[in-house]
């Protein structure tokens, strides 16, 4: 059969080749879906505030518009859990469960330049036992190497207020560990089933750093946020501490946050 396929005329070849090609495509697609089965995708996002910046009415709490060219974050100790019971960050304690998937090593990403159309950066897609990954632990760690080695979070961009423009480069060297419950958002995430990879998401809320002008001044987020004023002098590299700033979330869900000692 295969031999005759290659000894016939062109038209006959097309006629006969089509079923073979179709069968081949089906096989390849079948193998692809088999590879995708029981996979967990690790993602990170700075949401639209990272990719689109702070634009009116969502200015910083002190009225600055911000645009970012780079937001570099280094992540490690990333472990997704099938927690049982469900982990409640406000209650603290450890995440316990039957299954977990760990992202090996430390990864440095850019939440601006590497973001896809949904403001998402994929860290990895790993084989995972089927089930619901409803808890996520992760750390922001000092980058082990590269241009910004030693910094766990770097934000580079330009700020503007009342015609004044400031180029900024701000960074933190703090290591911060996060223990989070289930992703909270428009849809539930983390379900790994045969043929459909699950997703877990690390979400950085930049408004917890800069505050939001469209929120009340006494909103707890604005009370804790630094705003941009401390960095308005510009400069090559200004530093800040992540201590007390809860940037790390899972979607809209909060995390138990602990500064890791050096």
């Amino acid at each position: 059969m295969m031999q005759s396929l290659f000894t016939v005329s062109l038209s006959a070849f097309r006629d006969r080749a089509f079923p073979w090609a179709a069968a081949l495509c089906v096989s390849v697609l079948g193998m692809s879906s088999a590879v995708l089965a029981d996979q967990l995708r690790f993602q990170a996002s700075g949401e639209d505030l990272a990719t689109g910046g702070f634009v009116a009415p969502r200015l910083t709490k002190d009225g600055w518009a911000l645009s970012f060219s780079h937001i570099q974050v280094t992540l490690g100790d990333v472990v997704a859990h099938q927690a049982s019971p469900a982990f409640e960050p406000q209650a603290g304690g450890e995440i316990t469960g039957q299954a977990q998937v760990a992202l090996p090593g430390v990864v440095t990403i850019d939440l601006v330049t590497q973001a896809d159309g949904d403001d998402m950066v994929t860290l990895a897609e790993l084989p995972a036992p089927a089930g619901h990954y409803n808890a996520l632990a992760w750390s922001m760690l000092p980058a082990p190497d590269g241009k910004h080695a030693g910094d766990s979070l770097v934000l580079i961009g330009e700020a503007e207020k009342d015609g004044t423009r400031v180029a900024f480069h701000i960074a933190s060297r703090d290591a911060v560990h996060h223990r989070c419950g289930e992703y909270v958002g428009h849809e539930r995430k983390g379900f790994v089933t045969a043929g459909a990879p699950g997703e877990v998401e690390i979400t950085l809320h930049l408004d917890h750093l800069f505050g939001r002008a469209d929120k009340a001044a006494d909103d707890p987020m604005n009370v804790d946020a630094l705003g941009f004023a401390p960095f308005a002098g510009g400069g090559e590299r200004q530093t800040f501490s992540l201590n007390g700033l809860h940037l790390g979330h899972v979607g809209e869900g909060h995390c138990a946050v602990a500064l890791v000692d050096d």
């Binding site: 619901h132 849809e187 869900g253 909060h254």
Partner: protein, 157 residues
Amino acid sequence: MWAVGARRVLITGAAAAVCAATGQAFAHAAYIQLSPARGVEVRAAYDSGEPMVSAQVRIYAPDAPARVWLQGLTDESGVYRFVPDPAIDGAWAVQVRQAGHGAMGEIRLEPTSVPAAEAALPLSTSATGPDPLQKALMAAAIIWGFIGTALYFKRPR
């Protein structure tokens, strides 16, 4: 943040089919059926203690955890109550969201028997039930319904 409160007994109402049986006698009467049911109270608040007023609540049943089973809004106290389907046992998930902040929680319910006792009560400002005449009319309407049905099928063709 917020916490799922202890299970409480709730009273839930449902339109009663008995309305149809008594429709001619009490054209403006409305009836509800009341039955005790085990329910869940969700109390949502920020960590400052401020209630999450009018926050979006979504309930996910254990047998279809990725699909919204029920949704609504918290009241002025940050409270939302719902009665899970007693036929679906397992962990019921509750999501509360408002203005970019949210939380998930779950409560595991064991299979429960639905209370058998039910009472048909008129919806009125009075707390009293149907009087003897009303009861007699309701019974007569139901019996006549059976008789009429039997006669229909026994009629000569």
